[in-house]
Symmetry: C2
Subunit: 323 residues, 2 copies
């Protein structure tokens, strides 16, 4: 029987379960809402039921579930006890890995969701990526993952790669997690509104910015992207600023680690053409020129399946993620 992974991308909104084969093909998907407000024990029960359902489906297809890989939206130490989870706050202190291992009869591995996305990218594009790179995912927030010499670098408390919280305007506004002036405050879906404020402060005017002033709560990153595609000057300037802020945060990454490459994914990476050209000039102001010039900054190859594939790589490419 061909072996498969049961792979889970746990988000604050959706619990996505998939069956993934050893080549990274997604053979089957189960989607259910997470509804964190139900409380931890109900969410945990949904999760284990989803896993068992996927295992039954796999067996029905003549496939052998080899293990379960889970991308979790939070941080936990090596023992699997959750230290922080912004969208699942009642999970802090929960011995997640122990509970899973008690409930599921096949091997279970858990990793932070952004670390999973980095691992997914590395697993699928291994031939095309250096063995060391820093991954950044731009969504409602900003996550990251650090791959050093072919292995995920988790850090002391599993909190390495939290590059969304690198300060870029140390006296600036706070993010939802309480970090002051971090890159997430600006170059994320949630942060885009702060950034529009900055562009308005510059005195920039445009149809997009006027629309924003009228109906700010409903303006989305997609609206900004569409406006930029239609040459709206304000939207273009917005993405320039977006890239400039990214350059500042990535300068810190480069000064600490000097990786050969930075890989940027997540939903907002779709606006790559508008923000990417501004990253390097900004980064160069804060790093050595010879380092900036030889740094590869590239768009991630995987879209929203990065996390689920990374979770599968916890089973199929263990050497990259186990200590």
């Amino acid at each position: 029987m061909p072996g498969v992974a049961v792979s889970i991308d746990m988000g604050g909104t959706n619990l996505r379960v998939a069956i993934v084969d050893e080549k990274g093909e997604i053979l089957c998907r189960i989607l259910q809402p997470t509804k964190p407000e139900r409380g931890r024990s109900k969410v945990f029960a949904s999760l284990t039921e989803g896993i068992k359902e996927a295992m039954v489906k796999a067996k029905a297809k003549g496939l052998e579930p080899l293990g379960v890989g889970i991308g979790f939206p939070g941080v936990f130490a090596d023992d699997g006890v959750i230290l922080g989870a912004p969208q699942l706050s009642d999970w802090v202190g929960f011995a997640f890995l122990d509970a899973l291992r008690a409930a599921i009869e096949i091997p279970v591995f858990v990793e932070n969701d952004a670390n999973c996305a980095a691992l997914g990218e590395y697993w699928i594009f291994r031939g095309d990526l250096p063995d060391t790179f820093v991954f950044m995912t731009l969504g409602s927030g900003i996550g990251g993952g650090v791959i050093l010499q072919g292995k995920l670098w988790r850090g002391y408390l599993g909190s390495a790669g939290e590059i969304g919280h690198i300060p870029v305007e140390p006296n600036g506004p706070f993010c939802g997690g309480g970090h002051q002036g971090c890159i997430e405050v600006f170059s994320s879906a949630v942060g885009l509104k702060n950034l529009i404020g900055r562009v308005l402060d510059e005195g920039v005017a445009s149809p997009f910015l006027s629309a924003f002033k009228e109906r700010s709560p409903t303006v989305t990153p997609k609206d900004a992207y569409e406006a930029a595609k239609q040459d709206d000057f304000g939207a273009r300037r917005l993405f320039e600023r977006f890239g400039e802020y990214l350059g500042i945060a990535l300068a810190s990454v480069v000064n600490v680690l000097n990786p050969p490459a930075i890989v940027i994914g997540g939903n907002i990476a779709n606006a790559w053409e508008f923000f990417a050209p501004s990253i390097l000039p900004s980064l160069k102001r804060h790093t050595f020129p010879y380092v900036a010039e030889r740094l590869k900054i590239r768009k991630a190859g995987l879209g929203e399946d990065a996390g689920i594939l990374g979770a599968a790589s916890l089973i199929f490419a263990k050497e990259a993620c186990l200590p």
Copy 2:
């Protein structure tokens, strides 16, 4: 014959050569001025003569020189070709390691000076330090070194650990190396004057600050330290700000790598009592609380011999520094 290392700390001011034994004892020192203005070939000739003199001295004492370790004030790739050297600008492009190996008959190793200081600290205090830590040296500029799981992390172009250039005020003044608003602009000997400006901007007044206004070019970090010891409010506030800026830069380090410890050395670390208490509160504003609370921030154990001992560790503790 007991084996020894010939160990060199090359600075823009002094060329310090020493004979170091396998326990880290410095048995003999030779000091000569560097005088970079003489040009590269003369400085290089002084260096190789100093090495040969030390080798002769070692043999005269019945010691066997096993190798030469050099801490160099600049950055070079794995091939030993110099990529950047702020104090020795005509050395850029020089195949330093090849030239040394042609001139010296015993094995020669070169490492960045701040990386050497990190390695020296790790070699001498190994039992007392975790195997992963980030080292920061506060002198006229700021250098750094990253030790991951017992090995120096050099980065793609030998430029990892350049934590002195982490931006902390991205639109702020430029450092001597042309980086805008980096931590070196504030929390270094050279940066202290910018920082005094910030304290004056806050409207703080004190005898030390008045003296600064009168004779700014001659005020030294030592003057600030002495004033702080005498309870001068302005000098105390100055070191608070010094620590606050360090906290911002170290937050970037922590968000990227989540090391268990940060070790801070260099001359200005002598003012530890006055700036260290301000680091953590500032760092906490920019990292997860559970990470900040479990981070050890400690003063380096070695003083100005850190570099020379680290250079010796290139011979005696190779496992920490070779690929």
